[in-house]
Every structure is written in C-alpha cells, then in structure tokens.
Amino acid sequence: MVGFGGGGGGGGVGGGGGVGGGLLENANPLIYERSGERPVTAGEEDEQVPDSIDAREIFDLIRSINDPEHPLTLEELNVVEQVRVQVSDPDSTVAVAFTPTIPHCSMATLIGLSIKVKLLRSLPQRFKMDVHITPGTHASEHAVNKQLADKERVAAALENTHLLEVVNQCLSARS
C-alpha cells in the first residue's frame, strides 16, 4: 500500500550534493511552456453576463501548483493539462486526471493530494470532485486513486502536520 507519507518531504532540491543532482529522481526532466494569463473578455467585464466555471478556469487553479521536488510548476512538467480537466457547472462535477513524470514517481500521492486540496479550497461546496491518475501512467495507479477518493483518508492526511506543511508549500505562491 502506498502511504500518504511516501514523499518523505521532498527536500534535497538544490541542496547541493553530487554534480548532476544525484538526489533527484529525475534531474533533467522535460519541461513545457506555461500558458499565459487568461485574457479578459468583454463578456467577463460585463456585470450582467454570468460566466460559467469551465475547464480553463479549473486548469488555472491547478496549473501553478509547485512540484514537491522540482522548482517547477505542475504545468511546466506537464503533470496537469487542460484537456485532462472535465467540468460541468450545471451538474456541479469536476474530474481532474494528472500524469506523474515517471511511472514510479514516489510523489504521485502527494501531487494528487495537493490538487485535491487546492480544489477543495477554491471551488464552491456544491462541486463533487474526482482527482485521479491518468490511466496507465503510474505503477501504483489503483492504490493512489483509491487513497485520493477516500474522504476520511484525505482528512486524516491533512491532520498530519508534516504532510500539511508540504502541501501548503506546493500551494504557496512562488516567491
């Protein structure tokens, strides 16, 4: 069973050590471009027109989450993509699939937890949310998904000061 504590804190970033960064699981990862700020439309500035919650809006919530290991965002590592966000405002449902950078990434649960917490803090309560690993991209996909879907376990994980600290760091605005 993969535990929520599996990340172990994700220290070691830039902490010195051997040339080439022996401490990182994946020292020279592929990086992807950041999408710019969403341009503001005339409709959005009109008081009367309601704007429904769409996939881009959800994506904007999670794309800037920091990776626990790299000084990069989940978007730059392509862990989250807008096409993997499904949302229905009228039905109040949202589903996010995320893709770990490597199939054995020990941070997968932690990343999933960060996404989940970000959505819990940012979306109206009416929403039912589902955060899971993109099918076929991780060795312990099933176990991680089960953990993320279990409300009680998520709640218990956030009682753990150390885990909460790491999650908060991932959710803090980059200085």
Binding site: V13, G14, G15, G16, V19, G20, G21, A27, N28, P29, L30, I31, E33, V40, E44, E45, E47, P50, D51, I53, E57, D60, L61, H70, P71, L72, K118, R121, S122, L123, P124, Q125, R126, T161, H162, L164, E165, V166, V167, N168, Q169, L171, S172
Partner: protein, 1028 residues
C-alpha cells in the same frame, strides 16, 4: 611642590579633586581637572605629582583609578601637550603596561590619548606598539579595551605610516596576534578596516601572508544575526562587505582563498553560496591568469553545478555573474608570446560541458547551459568570438534538425541571445566579426521562423530579425527588401495572432530608423496603394471588409515614421487620405477619421525629438486640420456627412491630441509664427494661411450664430494651451474675454467646456502680476453671476472647476478661496454630486490641457498641499452636513485620498481611518470603490495601524464582497487578501469565520470575482498553517 606654589593655584584644590576621584570614586572631578589643565591653571606634570601616592599605592585598584584620572585628562588635553611631556608620559605608560591586569584598561586609554598627539616625537609610535604587542594579551581584554587597542593602531597608521613601515613584517605579525580570536562585530569592522589598510597601503606582509589570510578568512562566510533592538546598528551586510573587501584586496590571498570559495559554494546554506559567488566576482577585479590557473576546473565545476541545479534565481544570477567576471579576468591578462592562453582552454571546457544540452531543447538544462555560455561570451570580444563561432553553427544545425515549432522557438531564442551579445563589441575589421560568415544561414533561418505557423516562433523570429538588422553593415539590400516584405505581411495578420502584428510594428519602427531607404522604397508605396484601394472600396459602398485592413495600414504608416526622411513621405500620405475622404464624401462613421487622427498623433509623437521633423509636421498638418474643420463648420446649409462627422465630440478630441502633440515641442520662434496666424483666424476670421480657403462664409466662432463654428474652440484650446510658456499670445486680453463669455453660454455645453478649459490653460501659464489678477477676478465675477441664475449654473460650475484647477496647480494665492467656493457647493441640491466628482478632476492629471507636457505650471507637491489645506475642512464639512448630502463629502474626500501618494497618506491615516471606515458603509458604489482602493495599499503598507480595526474591516469587507457592483466585489476581495498581511495572531480568531464566508464568492457568477475569492481564501487557509 615649589612649582605649584609659584603658579599661584592652591595646590590643595587639585589635591582635593584627585582625592575625590581616586578615593571618593566620584566621576565629576576628572572633567574639572581636565578643564583646569586646558585653561592653563596647572600643568599635566602637576597632575602627575598630585596623583603621586595613588600611583604608587600597593592596591592595584587604586593605582588603576589614579591612572584612569590621568588618562581621562589626557584624552581631553592631548592637543596642548609639549613634546617633552609626551616623551615622559609615554615612558610612564609603557612601563605601566607591565603592571597588574586591572590597571591595563586605564593605561590603554592613556595611550589612545597620546596616539592622537601631534607632538609625538618620531620613534615613539613604534615603541608603543612594540610594548603593546609584547605586554598585552589583547584577546583576554574586554570588548571596549580591545577596541581601544584597535584605535591606537588606527591612529598611528593614519599619522605615522612611514615609521610603522620601518617595523617591517613585525608590525603585521603583531597585529595578527592582536586580532586573532576577535569575536565582537564592532571590533571586527575596525579590524577588517586595518587589514585592508595594511594591504592597500602596501605594508610589508613578509612571510605572514597566510597567517593574515587565516586570521580574517576564519570569519568567512559571515554568519551573524544582529540581536533584536541592537543599539549598535551593525548589520550582517556591513560585516559581509567589509570582510569581502579584505579578502578580495590582493592576489596574494588567491592560493588560499580560491579553495575556500570552492568549498563554500557547495554549502547547504543559501547565503553562504551567494557570499562565495559574490566574493569570487570581486576577486576577479584584481586577479590575473596566474592566480586563477590552478583553480579554473574547480571554479567552473562549482559554478556549473549551482546554475544547473539551483532552485533560486539569485544563486543562478550570482553564478552567471561570477562566470562573466572570471572570463573577463582571463581575457584581460597580457600574455607572453609563448604562454598558454588560459582563456581558450577555459572556454573550451565550458563549451564541452554545455554544448550538448543545447541539442535537447525540451529538457530542463537547455536554458541554464545557454545562459552560462552567454555569460561567458558577454565578457569580452575574444570570448564572444570563440563561443559564438562554436555555438552558432551548432544552433543553426539543430534548428533544422528539430521540426517542432516549440523546439525551434527555444533554439532560435538562444540564437537571439548570442546575436544580441554581438552589439556589445565594436569590430574594426568587418571580417573579424563572428557573425560575418553566417549571414545567409541566419537570414534564411529567421525568414523560415517568420513564415512558420506558430505565432510564438514568429514572435521570436521578429525579435531575431530586429537583432540582425541592428548589426552595423550586416544585412544586404536584398535581405532588407525581404525583411520588409515579411514585416509587411506580419503586420496585416489576422486578429488571433495580434501579438505578432504588434511586434512586427515595433520591429518596423526600430529597423526603419536604421534602414530608412529600405522602408521608403519597399513599404511606403505598398501602404499608399493599400490605402487608396481601401478608399475606393469605401466609396463603392463595399467598405466594411476593407476596414480592419485600412486600420492596420494606418498603424503601419505611423509605426515606420521613425526617421525624418520617412515622415516626409508618410505625413503627406495621411493628410491626403483625410482630404480624399472629405472630397469623396465617403465616410460612414467617426471611427475612420479618428483612426487617421490616431495615426497622425503617433507620427507627431515620433517627430517631437527632432526639431526639423517637428516643424515639418506642424507646418504641414496643422493648417490642413484647421482647414478641414473650418470647412466642415460652414457646411450647415448644405450638410455633408463628413462635415457632421468631423464636428463630433470624439473626432474633435482626436484632433485635439494631434494638434497638442504637434505643438508642445516647437521652438519659441516658430511657435510665435504659428500663434499669430491661428489667433487671427479665431478672432479676425483670417483664413489666409489655410489651404483651399475659398469658404462659403466668414469664420466667426465667437459671434452669436453658428454653433458649429463655436465647437472649433476646442482646436484653438489644443493649440494655445500647448505652447511653451515664453511664447507671447497676440490680442490676449480680447481672447480671454471672448473665451470667458463663451464658457458661460448654456446653449452648447461642449463649446462652453472647451472655452473654460482654454481659459484655464492660459491662466495657468500667465506670468504673475496685475493682468493675471484681473483675469482671475473676471472669472470669479463670471462664475458668481452664472451660479446665481438657473440655466447657466452648470456652465458656471464647470468654469469654476477649471479655473480652480489652474490656480491650484500653480499655488496661486486665490486657489484657496475658489476651493472653498467649490466645497460650499457640495451641499448644493443641484450641483452637489457634480462638485464631489469635481475633486477627482482637481486631483488627477488631465490629458489635453494643464499637463506638464503642455508646459503648464504644475508644482510637484500640489496634491500634498491640497490635501493639507483642504482635508480638515472637508472632514469638518462632513460632520456638519445634513445626512442627505454627507455622501457628497465622502466622495470628494475619497477622490482626494485616492490620488494622494501613499507615503503622504500613511501618517494621516489614524485621524482619517474612522471616516474611511464610515465611507465603507456609504451606499454609493463610487465611494465604496474609491475607499477600498485606498485601504488596500494601506493594509499592505501599514499593517500595524490597521490591526486595531481588524474587526470592522473583516465585517465590512465581507459585506461588500456581495455588493451588486462587480468592481466593488473585486476590490473588497482584494482587501480580504491584503488583510492577510496583518500579524497572524490578530487574524487567527477570524480565520474559521472568514474561510466560511469566502466560500460564497467562490460561486460568484462573474469569473473575475471568483478569481479574487480563490486567491484571498487560499491565503487565509495558509495563515498560521505549517509550510506557509
């Protein structure tokens, strides 16, 4: 004793003072004795004699006390000592150094006094220092006494440099022993200063270089946190900098320092890394190849590791800076003919480690590698040649190897970095330039990028083209023709790649200044043709699809008008276009004319800096615009479409900006020519200077009758209010009276307002004196007359507002009575709301008149002054006002506060805060918005003051976050976000409530509101939570 008696001073008095000090342990007598010595009542020798017995007392504490008295006297009297006395005193004190350790501090005080003595004979400084080095174990003394020793040394180094140098390396060694083990930051600052002087004034270090290095470098990297409430105010940064100056002061330290730096760059602590890299950077200023030689591989490995691995931008920046300095240092050294050039091998190393990463444009290390190479290449022309020569072919090859647009973009962007570096160096010989062999390849690569389907790649392509075009004599004329062709095409791209269009316009502007002929020959004719075609299409009634194209054409025309020779072609083209529209009567809306005016406006802006172009523009465009407008104003009897359109408010406003911009930079002589014609046009109807001036009737804008003609006063305003202050305006008195009369005319608010602004603009610039006072009085009379009667009240109010503004800006003494009049109108049932908004106009910057650009007299502190003069009255007025007009006062106040620089507002905050909080409950959304935008920066800047009101703030902000106005909701949520800057203990009690309350705006119907709610709520979650 006989001497004492002869001096006529009761020896008993001195003896008594001494006893009081030594036995009585009183401090006062020391100053008394010093004063007496200074005034000549007795000599130092007499003091010594009076001390006699206490100096020989068997109890060391008493001896110390005795010497302390003498030392304190010397500290105040060292300037009156005779050489003979000094010799004796020094001998005495040196001898006392051997005494009990309790005595030493007082002895050192005395020596410090003597070290400041001008009368110190040669040889004694050395003798004192030797005695100290020999007899005193400095580091077992207290901080103050150690500081005294450093002071003695510093004093001698300042005045006896030659003597001390006579000591040779012994002095250095002695000092090393003195400072070895020093811990106090205050003393360290002095000690570092001494070491730096030892080195920079070339004292002999002898065999003690390594010891001197050890005794200072043991503090590196500085790890010091000043204690809270430290009275000495020494910051960590002070120590870091003074130690760095020492360590980087001599190449002699290199062999010891460089290994230490390599070790410390690897530290876990961020500040140690940064300090090491910065110190290395400083060393490169004095080092040469010899010092660096053995350590280059190690230094490079450390820098590379840091830049590759770091999460901190600061470390990356310092790493790159250090590499830059290293390379510059290696490039600088002069070599013997047979010596190995370290620069080449160093650069080869860098290339070897970084080159292959450039071939992986998707991977994380690609950019760090490019940055390292560029940092090295930016250090010298030689380094640039070496690296560019190696990397450029590789990048060219990689561009063609990779086919995806985003990969190509990364490669081109790196190439661009290297292209830009070339501009730093000036090459005498064209063939020496590293780029010269790659011209064709670079051009074809850039052109390939410009035709790619990816807008991102196109954008970088445009920037690269600009960089290529900026290389002197690089592009051939057919390259330029092709480049212009691409820019033309890109400028007309469809909406969705607008950023490319904008970039292409910008690039055209830059390149047109460098290669005007290419643009005149290949671009301007195409644009002329395009404009013509657009006009024909419009005339044929089939204009709508052509319109965006036409608009773009106008933008391109103005964008390339960056060179005088191009303006000579583009300006006539634009004006001709305007005439054709008029003649052909093909306008269907004001937007077409406005577009041409905006284009003219941009051309005018570009002409401002060049006096010749400026005059050309003015002379060509102004008569043409006035002629068109005058003609339009006369066609009332046979109305043409264009005629009506030309006189619309927005069109006139666009023409106003063109005329203003074309006038502000005129030289006074030329402006005088122009002003005579234009004033005469308006006052006398003299149209002789206008082209095609056969008008159907007379032009008499100030006469009763034609309301169309009257509207043109706005153009008069644009011109006369933009003139430099020293240009005299003919018939000024008549003009002012006409303007005043028109400004109170109620039939046409547009003309009346224009006249009021014009009057105000002239008033503001008029030299102080009787005439000015008369004009002001005339205006006040007109205002009072107008405010009295019904139909003209609004016009009179507008005049009052503008005249007040004109006087407030220049600190005219009558501004206060006018402001008071305005404030009185706040409770006027009809004009109250307008008066409240008037405060916004008073405090903000206008665009057309009364601006600094238009040479208006604007005192820099006018807002502060207005605030100080008027806010107390506004606050008082608010309290006194009846309930229904209170919002007017709040609104007026909000406008004043909103425009005030924050540093001025902060100290006033405590007195105003209660009013601002009340303003939050005001139902007027303008007041709410203004108050919120006033409070938001205050929350960030003055969290302590705001903490006191946290309860009210939380409640009111949350209330306003469900306001019906979207702007207010957004501002309220931004304030909720800013609240998190308050100290956490103040906020934590509210956290659960706030988080619950902020759940509601998460479901707001407007996305922009939700966005603010998300970021505010996210911050509140982090409050007091681990990891935030």
């Amino acid at each position: 004793m006989a001497a004492t008696l002869e001096a006529g001073v009761p020896a008993g008095a001195l003896w008594g003072l001494v006893q009081d000090f030594v036995v009585g342990q009183q401090e006062g007598p020391a100053d008394q004795v010093a004063a007496d010595v200074k005034s000549g009542s007795y000599t130092v020798l007499q003091v010594v004699e009076a001390l006699g017995s206490s100096l020989e007392n068997p109890e060391p504490r008493t001896r110390a006390r005795g010497i302390q008295l003498l030392s304190q006297v010397l500290l105040q009297c060292h300037s009156v000592l005779l050489e003979k006395e000094v010799v004796h005193l020094i001998l005495f004190y040196e001898n006392r150094l051997k005494d009990h350790h309790l005595v030493t501090p007082s002895v050192l005080q005395g020596l410090r006094a003597l070290s400041q003595c001008v009368a110190l004979p040669p040889g004694l400084a050395v003798s004192v220092l030797k005695a100290i080095f020999q007899e005193v174990h400095v580091q077992s003394l207290l901080q103050v006494d150690r500081h005294t020793v450093y002071s003695i040394i510093t004093n001698f180094m300042q005045t006896r440099e030659e003597e001390l140098k006579g000591l040779g390396a012994d002095f250095t060694f002695g000092f090393i022993q003195v400072m070895d083990g020093e811990k106090d930051p205050r003393n360290l600052l002095v000690a570092f200063r001494i070491v730096h002087d030892l080195i920079s004034r070339e004292y002999s270090l002898g065999p003690f270089v390594e010891e001197l290095f050890e005794v200072t470098s043991c503090y590196f990297p500085i790890d010091f946190t000043p204690p809270p409430n430290d009275p000495h105010g020494i910051q960590r940064e002070d120590l870091i900098l003074s130690l760095r100056v020492v360590l980087a002061s001599t190449p002699q330290f290199a062999e010891f320092l460089l290994p230490l730096l390599i070790e410390k760059v690897d530290s876990e602590i961020l500040s140690a890394k940064l300090d090491s890299l910065q110190t290395l950077n400083a060393c490169c200023a004095v080092y040469g190849q010899k010092e660096l030689k053995d350590f280059l591989p190690g230094l490079w490995a450390s820098i590379r590791r840091e830049v590759f691995q770091t999460a901190s931008e600061q470390v990356e920046a310092e790493g790159l800076a250090a590499l830059h300095s290293l390379t510059a240092c290696l490039s600088r050294s002069v070599l013997r003919a047979d010596a190995e050039d370290l620069l080449d091998s160093f650069l080869s190393n860098i290339l070897q480690d970084c080159r292959h990463h450039l071939c992986e444009p998707d991977m994380k290390l690609v950019w760090p590698s490019a940055k390292l190479l560029q940092a090295a290449a930016g250090a010298s022309a030689r380094a640039c040649g070496h690296i560019t020569g190696d990397v450029l072919p590789l990048l060219l090859e990689q561009f063609h190897k990779h086919s995806q647009s985003n990969q190509r973009r990364t490669i081109l962007e790196m190439t661009l970095g290297f292209l830009k570096l070339q501009q730093k160096w000036h090459y005498e010989d064209k063939d020496e330039r590293p780029l010269s062999g790659f011209k064709d390849q670079l051009c074809s690569l850039v052109f390939l990028a410009l035709t790619d389907s990816s807008a991102q790649l196109q954008l970088v392509g445009i920037r690269a083209l600009t960089a290529l075009g900026a290389q002197p004599d690089f592009l051939a004329s057919d390259d330029l023709e092709q480049a212009v062709g691409h820019l033309y095409r890109l400028s007309f791209l469809e909406e969705d790649s607008q950023s490319c269009g904008v970039a292409a316009l910008e690039a055209s502007g830059v390149l047109a200044t460098l290669h005007p002929a290419a643009f005149s020959n290949h671009l301007v004719p195409k644009l002329a043709e395009e404009l013509h075609r657009g006009l024909s299409a419009l005339a044929g009634g089939d204009g709508s699809p052509q319109r965006p194209q036409n608009l773009r054409c106008l933008q391109v025309l103005s964008a390339v008008s960056t060179h005088p020779s191009i303006v000579k072609e583009t300006l006539p083209l634009l004006l001709e276009h305007l005439w054709r529209m008029n003649k052909g009567n093909v306008v269907s809306g004001s937007s077409d004319i406005i577009a041409v005016c905006q284009s003219l406006q941009r051309v005018a802006e570009k002409c401002q800096q060049d006096p010749e172009s400026c005059w050309f523009f003015h002379q060509t465009a102004i008569p043409c615009l006035f002629a068109l407008a005058v003609q339009a104003s006369m066609s009332e009897k046979e109305p043409s479409i264009l005629g009506e359109v030309l006189l619309e408010d927005e069109v006139l406003a666009a023409m106003v900006s063109v005329i203003g911009t074309a006038t502000t930079h005129l030289s006074p002589e030329l402006a005088a020519q122009s002003v005579a014609r234009i004033v005469s046009l308006f006052l006398d109807g003299n149209t002789s200077f206008l082209p095609e001036n056969s008008f159907p009737s007379r032009f008499q804008p100030f006469q009763e009758g034609s309301s169309s003609q009257r509207r043109l006063v706005a153009l008069l305003m644009a011109f006369v209010c933009s003139l430099p202050q020293n240009v005299e305006i003919p018939q000024l008195d008549k003009l002012m009276r006409e303007l005043l009369e028109l400004s109170c005319c109620h039939r046409c608010p547009f003309s009346a307002t224009a006249a009021a602004k014009c009057f105000a603009g002239l008033l503001n610039k008029h030299p102080a004196g009787q005439q000015l006072d008369e004009f002001v009085q005339l205006a006040v009379d007109a205002v009072e007359a107008g405010l009295g009667s019904g139909p003209t009240r609004h016009q009179a109010f507008t005049l009052l507002l503008w005249v007040t503004k004109a006087l407030v800006l220049r600190y005219h003494p009558r501004n206060s009575s006018l402001t008071a009049r305005l404030m009185g109108l706040l409770s006027d049932p009809e004009l109250g709301p307008a008066a409240a908004d008037g405060f916004s106009l008073l405090m903000s910057d206008c665009t057309d008149v009364l601006t600094r650009a238009a040479h208006a007299e604007v005192r820099i502190m006018f807002r502060q002054r207005f605030f100080t003069d008027n806010v107390p009255a506004l606050v008082q007025g608010f309290h006194a006002a009846p309930q229904h007009v209170k919002p007017n006062y709040l609104k007026g106040l909000s406008h004043v506060l909103h425009r005030l620089p924050k540093p001025v507002l902060l100290p006033e905050l405590p007195t105003l805060l209660s009013l601002l909080l009340e303003a939050l409950s005001c139902s007027d959304s303008v007041v709410q918005l203004s108050t919120l935008s006033c409070l938001q920066p205050l929350l960030l800047d003055a969290p302590q003051v705001m903490s006191l009101h946290v309860d009210t703030l939380v409640t009111k902000f949350l209330n306003l976050s469900s306001s019906s106005s979207m702007g207010v909701r957004i501002a309220a949520l931004q304030c909720m976000h800013a609240l998190t800057r308050l100290p956490a203990p103040v906020l934590l009690p509210y956290k659960p409530h706030v988080i619950r309350a902020l759940a509601k705006p998460l479901d707001d119907k407007k996305r922009l509101v939700r966005k603010e709610a998300v970021s505010a709520r996210g911050e509140w979650f982090l409050l007091g939570s681990p990891g935030s």
